[in-house]
């Protein structure tokens, strides 16, 4: 994934009706759940179960979309659709890339959370 994640705070806040409280809560939850979400994706890949991979990719797609990460959500969508089609070819690599993206998003969010 070539494009680095850029946090569009204004866009996210607009979607949340300008509610700073919910925005902050969302950031905290993303950071809090990051490891668990990455672990679930890895476990799904390790299981070789297309249905599990599809579900985890779907969840990650939703998470990244919540933070307006269109590129990351699109990559998750590709994994989801490939798993849905039962095509396991290259899924492990795609999943690894997805995890990297999630962590990258987390770093940006963490920095935004504590700007100091």
């Amino acid at each position: 994934m070539a494009d680095a994640f850029v946090l569009n705070r204004q866009n996210i806040l607009e979607r949340l009706g300008g509610d700073e409280e919910i925005y902050t809560m969302m950031l905290d939850m993303y950071l809090q759940d990051l490891d668990a979400n990455c672990a679930s994706l890895s476990a799904a890949i390790a299981s070789g179960q297309a249905i599990e991979i599809r579900r985890e990719a779907h969840t990650i797609k939703g998470l990244l979309a919540t933070f307006s990460d269109d590129r990351g959500a699109a990559a998750a969508y590709v994994v989801e659709q490939q798993a849905k089609a039962g095509d396991m070819n290259g899924l492990a690599a795609a999943a690894a890339t997805l995890e990297t993206r999630m962590r990258e998003v987390a770093m940006v969010l963490a920095a935004a959370r504590c700007p100091g």
Binding site: G17, D19, M25, M29, D33
Partner: protein, 350 residues
Amino acid sequence: MNTVLIIDDSDINLTLIKALVLKLGECQPVLHEDPLKALEWCRENVPDLVIVDYMMPGMDGLRFISAFRALHGRNEIPVLMITASDQKDVRYEALLGGANDFLTKPVDRVEFSARVRNMLMLRQGQKFLADRARHLEDLVDERTSEIRDRERELIFRISRAAEFRDPETGAHIQRMAHYSQIIARGLDLEASKLKLILEAAPMHDVGKIGIPDYILLKPGKLTFEEFEVMKGHARLGHELLKDSRSEIMQAGAEVAISHHEKYDGSGYPHGLKGQAIPLFGRIVAVADVFDALTSERPYKKAWPLEDAVRFLEEGRGKHFDPLCVEAFLAGWDAVLDIRRRFQDEEVPMI
């Protein structure tokens, strides 16, 4: 307060949706990560709105909606399904499966608030209509009950009018009506029939209104001709009541014409036999005779209870329907209670 059930396996979505629901005000969110547990909750609780994610482990949103709709009384509760914008096929399927509307991920507060408010208004409308229907039903029940009470009072008074012309007392009609009900209960008649016989039995002798005083009040034994006139009270009672649209009056007409029939066919006015005698007539025959025997009259002493019981037993299959006698004797404790409650000096309403 609206109860909003939110089902999503993602913590972050649950938290986000809960926060948005709370922002709406007057809403109590109930959160479930597991759709199966949410369904269990729905068996005992009725939400005002369900917000459910599509893709979840164990049971997806489509299957959840279908199982939820199958629960009794959950058919009209609004359901919002959360889907991604790329899932058009899922949306179609959800619509057919019972979802009322959709929320697109990522959730947008403006869209979310508008859709949830619309669904809650729909729910409020449903509740309002249901409450109004229930209120109207209660009102109709109340009015019907008032009319029925007036009808019962009228019947009681008409029945007493007939009894006043007779040495028998008002307490007699109360006792025999309750005895009739004891027999009906012993025969396992349905609740509505138990109520009906209690209300209709007092009219058994209403035709005595049309019997001349010189016969009705004659202290001595009636001649053959006089007795023939006296027997006419059964037909007179029937004539008086038969054309009424009231179920109670119709039952009263049946009781009036059939309570002097005898099981072996030797009764009057038609000489009907066995099951050809209407059931209410067979029941009232036992109740009326027992009370007449065990009550004191100006011209006779009250029979001892054991003698009256023997009379009923000996009359089984001849005068009386054996099953009615059996049902009466099986309810003996209740019979004694009725005798204590309705004594000749005092005549409380049924």
